[in-house]
Each structure stands twice: as structure tokens, then as C-alpha cells.
Symmetry: C2
Subunit: 422 residues, 2 copies
Amino acid sequence: MALKPFVEVNSDSHFSIHNLPYGIFKHGGDAITTPRPGVAIGDYVLDLSAIHSAGLFDGPLLSSSDCFHQANLNKFLELGRPAWKEARATLQKLLSSAEPALQNNASLRKKALLPMGEVEMLLPIAIGDYTDFFSSMHHAKNCGLIFRGPENPINPNWFHLPIAYHGRASSIVISGTDIVRPRGQGHPSGNSPPYFGASRKLDFELEMAAVVGPGNELGKPIDVNEAADHIFGVVLMNDWSARDIQAWEYVPLGPFLGKSFGTTISPWIVTLDALEPFACDAPNQIPQPLPYLAEKVSKNYDISLEVRVKPAGQEESFTVTRSNFNHLYWTLTQQLAHHTVNGCNLRPGDLLGTGTISGPEPESYGCLFELTWNGTKDLSLGKTSRKFLEDGDEVIISGCCKGNGYNVGFGTCSGKIIPYLP
Amino acid sequence: MALKPFVEVNSDSHFSIHNLPYGIFKHGGDAITTPRPGVAIGDYVLDLSAIHSAGLFDGPLLSSSDCFHQANLNKFLELGRPAWKEARATLQKLLSSAEPALQNNASLRKKALLPMGEVEMLLPIAIGDYTDFFSSMHHAKNCGLIFRGPENPINPNWFHLPIAYHGRASSIVISGTDIVRPRGQGHPSGNSPPYFGASRKLDFELEMAAVVGPGNELGKPIDVNEAADHIFGVVLMNDWSARDIQAWEYVPLGPFLGKSFGTTISPWIVTLDALEPFACDAPNQIPQPLPYLAEKVSKNYDISLEVRVKPAGQEESFTVTRSNFNHLYWTLTQQLAHHTVNGCNLRPGDLLGTGTISGPEPESYGCLFELTWNGTKDLSLGKTSRKFLEDGDEVIISGCCKGNGYNVGFGTCSGKIIPYLP
């Protein structure tokens, strides 16, 4: 733990000097409100456009690049891992207590190091395509049990390939954005006709999502052992779901309007480099994956995840789930390699969701659908309870890796349900 | 038929003065090769940037807009129907034999009216999201019969809502682009393990797709009776499909890698205004749609569609399907209204595919999966035959509305299969 920043960072802060996650912000404190890239450090945001303009990105790849003078991170993502490593080394040095360049430059510090409370976070990337996987075995099993019953709850293909579907990119919003309760068709059961109205089974889904770096040309798959070079980092994600709409529409082409009304991501992208100390073994996969999915090193990450719900009209929030990223069966790199094996091209800024991250225990289930077993039991929230989300309910996801005396955390990913008003 | 252009247009041309479809082109004939908007007229492309620079877009909405100085049509699409009508009126007048402004200006004519053979067509729009519907009852029925058998081939939800799934936007390519045969997992049957390799069941799908205009904000649905104002026009589309990959992966989340390796669209967007004379009644829908899908006027369009296959190594192509856009059960406006009813936002340039357009007769089936009944019979192509597509096969879709002495056509949408080479 020799690395010590000159900026004060509380020991419980998510944003230690070992983290340095990237986001896009606007600063309300002055007239200049152009969106620009920053990294989080303690309670501050370091403005990368100011650091670049001051000539402090002095490495060969970044000194003459304009990637930090953009309204999204896509151009930086496209540069790939060598540039990401150069940026990380430059920033860790610049923020360390041993380095005077920023520390002793009061006017630059004032301009570049902004209190987090003064900035507004925006979507960090322009998302060309968003894909959502289905990589937690516990979630797949619970969904199968509820929808189809105890005989073969997991479909045979699940153990051979990372199942996924294309999601809606336009409705991905930044943490803090209200979510309008969707309307749609539901179907009670049997031969009754479908009804139309506000969803009665509105749910959250605890997910994380990988942010794609350089990507590939159409027709040129990415090898699974090179896939990590195409993953810049990871965010928290809430894949809001209307279970009644989803259940009625999803056969045979998959989820559509049950998901496309909104997906929330956290503002800070934690890089794979920052997560590396928290890498752990991925689960043993049986049957053995086909060669194109067989990795030399198969990694998961030990990221503690938590979902809290703050019920409408209350000040207190209640933890409803504690899970961990390492419950995933398919790794991020397997997901990415599978995605491209048919030649499909990924572009910088594409988002690959993991699917709901449920663990084996009921307390670790990643959505209300599982926690209340499709509304057949109540989930207690202090003096009240829920089967599904009500208007005014707020859902707050957080994630954090605990190091020795420091954290590499994701902050929060939150959203509140508001009613549809014509 | 009083409208007569000063440019010669053959009577069998798709691009009469009643059509004027929009595309994006590069001109190889001079040094300036910036992509820019054009309309097709006979064997020429009219360069809209040149027409605008010459001050000939003199209407109130377009004279000071820079929408024709862009590398895609998105900015023009965002302006909405009043601007589209203004552009159409301006261009029909400018191209008419009664109007001297362009006709008698030799230097502008030379600059702005380019032989079609000299230009390269590009993707006309930046596609944020691509959605594919499933709106032909005959196609839905045939797929159900093949996959699930004769009991209830069409799932009950199909008659209540326009079923759709999110497709992959990154791999949409312009007509003429080669398609690399995808690799992936297939599964023969029973308890045998899946295999990996080049797809053995590569197929085309005859589709059309609507191009979205202004669109809507997240949380603000578009009323079905206002949906037409959000549809700029229509293109031909070939939604290439790998049936073996699709069959193994699609339960429960829908098609993914079986589709995402490539989707081809035609270069010219034919506007709804140009299609208006070919509007016809949509089919009677039983059961009656829910109120949010009930239209005051329910329109289809009489667009003759044809698929030809040119087998590898042969000069001759063979017609394998004759279908019509009016075989669709759900209208474009119902599709769009349904898409937004949950609050999902559409953006200018989004693409809404119709799904495979099959008619009731075997000769009108829109894909090989139906034409060869999943490879159980041969489709004759002159001296050879096919169950599915082979490397070197080219598929050419065309579409045309026949007016009284003129056409409103789509040109062609073509692509050739090439093998995957590592």
C-alpha cells in the first residue's frame, strides 16, 4: 500500500487511488458546462480535459490525442489497453503524494479537482448496441422453475453457450433518472383475453455490464484468449423488467417491451485493470466448453453487490439482496468471444450485460421475481412489504471490492419508479 | 400523369419523378468524395447538397437547414413530415420539364445530376436501434408448423400484439456487401452434444423495414393514429439467418447469433408520400386489437416483391419467391405504436423490420426455411438446386409499385455469401 494520494480519501470511499474509474460529467460551478471525461478520487472528480490541456498526459499515446476533449469516452475506449494503461499510470502518479505537478499547482488543482457534489454525471458512453446475457445459473434455474416447473428448469443449451439477447440501446439512462412505469399487455391466464394497462409486476434486476473497447470488424471474430483486451471496464446495471408484459410477449422471440422502457447504469466505469487484484477463479464448467470458449485462464471477480429498496414515502432503505459478481457461470471474456464468433462486430462503447446476478441462497436472489417467487410471497421492508415495485419506490444497487485498507468500488446505480401520466 | 421530368426516365425504371427516394452516396468521378444525400431519378442521382448550395431549396423549412450537408439522412428525418413534404414538392418542381431553374443551368446540372453508375451508395442512415417484427401470419404459421408441429402453430399472443425482438444494429450493411458465412453452435437432435462450425443452414429472409422519423422521448408513447408522421419511408431488407445456430440458441431469449452476423438493406428509402397512391386496406384483424392498436385508417401498401437467387458459378439468376408487402397482418403504424406504448423511445434513423413477408401460397414464401420446409425438399434453380445457401450464392431482392405508366420502385437489395477464412 505504498501508493498514497495527496487528495484525502476516506478509508470507506469507493474511489481510492487504486480505482480511478472513468465517467462523463458536467460542472455546474462555472459557465463551462460542456460534458467531459473525469475520474473519481475520494470525494472529487478529476477533470481529464483540464489535465490534458495542462500537458500532464505526457505519455506517447495520449499526449497528442483529443480523446479527453470529447463528450463521451468512446474515442478513449477505441485506443485500447496500451492507452488505458498509460492513462492509469499517469493518473496514479499525478495523484500520488510524492508528485508535485498537480499537488503544488494551486490554480490547476482548483480548475481540475472538482468536489463531486458540484458535478452532474452523464452517460459515460455512446452505446451503439446493448446485449444482455443470462449468465447466472441460479437465476436461470429460478426462472425455469417459476415459468416451466421443476422438470429441467434449465434449458439444455444453457450449459453449452452463454445465452443472450439484443437489448434496447436508446432507453439506457444514467443512475438517478426516474423510470416511468410502463404500460402494456398482460395476460392473466387460461383463455381470458389480455388486458392493457400499467404494469402490475414491475421489477428490478441486479446486473453488471462490460463496456467494450476496440471491438472487431464484421466477419472477424475475437479469440476468447484475446477477449480481455476488448473489455475496458464494468458498470453496475439495473435492467428494469415488467414481468407481466414479458411473460405474455416473450414466446418465441424473447423479451421486448417488458425490458425496453428503461435500463439504468452507474456513472463510473471501473476498469479491468483496477479489478485485477480481485480476480478469482471462474466456476468449473461441465460439460467442458467447446474449444472456441475454452480459456487458458478463466477469471471471475470478487465484487460484493447489494440491492436496497427505499419504499415510497419512507426515508429509510432496506437491503433486499446481497450477491456477488463471482456467482456468474460464464465469464465476461467467454461472453464477448461467443458474441463475435459468428462474425458479429462489436464497437467501442457497446454494452454487454451479465444478466441478473443471483447467488445460490434466497437472500442473494437478484430480482423480486425470484425474491417473492413471482409475487407468491411478500418481501418485508420494515413496516411495509412488497411483491413488486410500487410508484415512488427507489432501487439502489451498489458494488464494491474490498482491498487491504482500500476499496475499488462502483458507487451506486439508482432509480425511482414514477407513474405514467398521459 | 401531368408530371413529366426533364430527365429521361425509362418507363420500366424504378425511379420515376413520382418516387424520388433518398439515399447517401459518394461520387467517384471527382476529388470530392464526401458522403452526401441524393435522390434517384431515372438513371441519375441528384446531389441534394449541390441543389441546396445553389439556393434551390427555397422553402421555409429547408432553405437555412444544413440537413443536406450531412453524411447520413438522420438530421433530415428528425425534421419531420412538413420538411419532407417541402423537399418533395421542391424536387418534383425542379425536375419537371416545365421548370427551367435546374434544366437550363448546364453547369449546375453537370455538378448535381450524376450518372448512377458513377456513384457508390452507402448506408443512408445512422441506425441507433434496429427492431425486427414478425408480422406475416403465413410466416409465423409456417415457422410454428416446422418447429412445433400442427397443433397451434401460431402462439396465442401473436393475434393480440405485433411480436418483435431487438436486432443487431452494428452489422447492418448496404446492398452489395458480401456476407461472411457465420460459424456457431448447432445441435443435430436428441442427446448428442452440439457441434461447432460453419453454418449448414444459411438462409435469406425477404423483409422490408420502416425508417423512423422524429421519434419520441422516453416515457412518451406515440398514438397509433399519429404513428405515420414518425415513419419517413421504407427499404428492402434481407435478414440473413443461420437456421442451425438459431434453432439451438433461441430458447428462451430469442434469436441472437443466428441473425447478428449481417443484415442487408437497399440503398434507397422510398418515402411514405411516394407510396401513398399504392395504399390498400390492411387485413381484417380478429380478434379486434386493443384500443391502443385500433387505427382510424388501417393501411397496407401494394408492393410487389421478388427474390432471385444466382447460384455460385452461374451467370443466370432464378426467381424463387414472389410476394407482396400487403401480406402483412400488422401494419407499420401498429408496429410503431406498439413499440412505444411502454414508453420506449425511438430515434431518427431507427429501423423497424417487418419480419419475413410470406404470402399464403408456397411460391410466395419469403425464405428457404419455408420454401424447402427446413431443408426437407429441394428448391430447383435451373440445372442445380438448393436446400440452403451455398458459398458464392447471391440473393437479390427487388420491390416495385406499378403505377399508371410509371413505377415507384425500390431497386434491389443484394448480397453474396462468402466463406469464412481465418
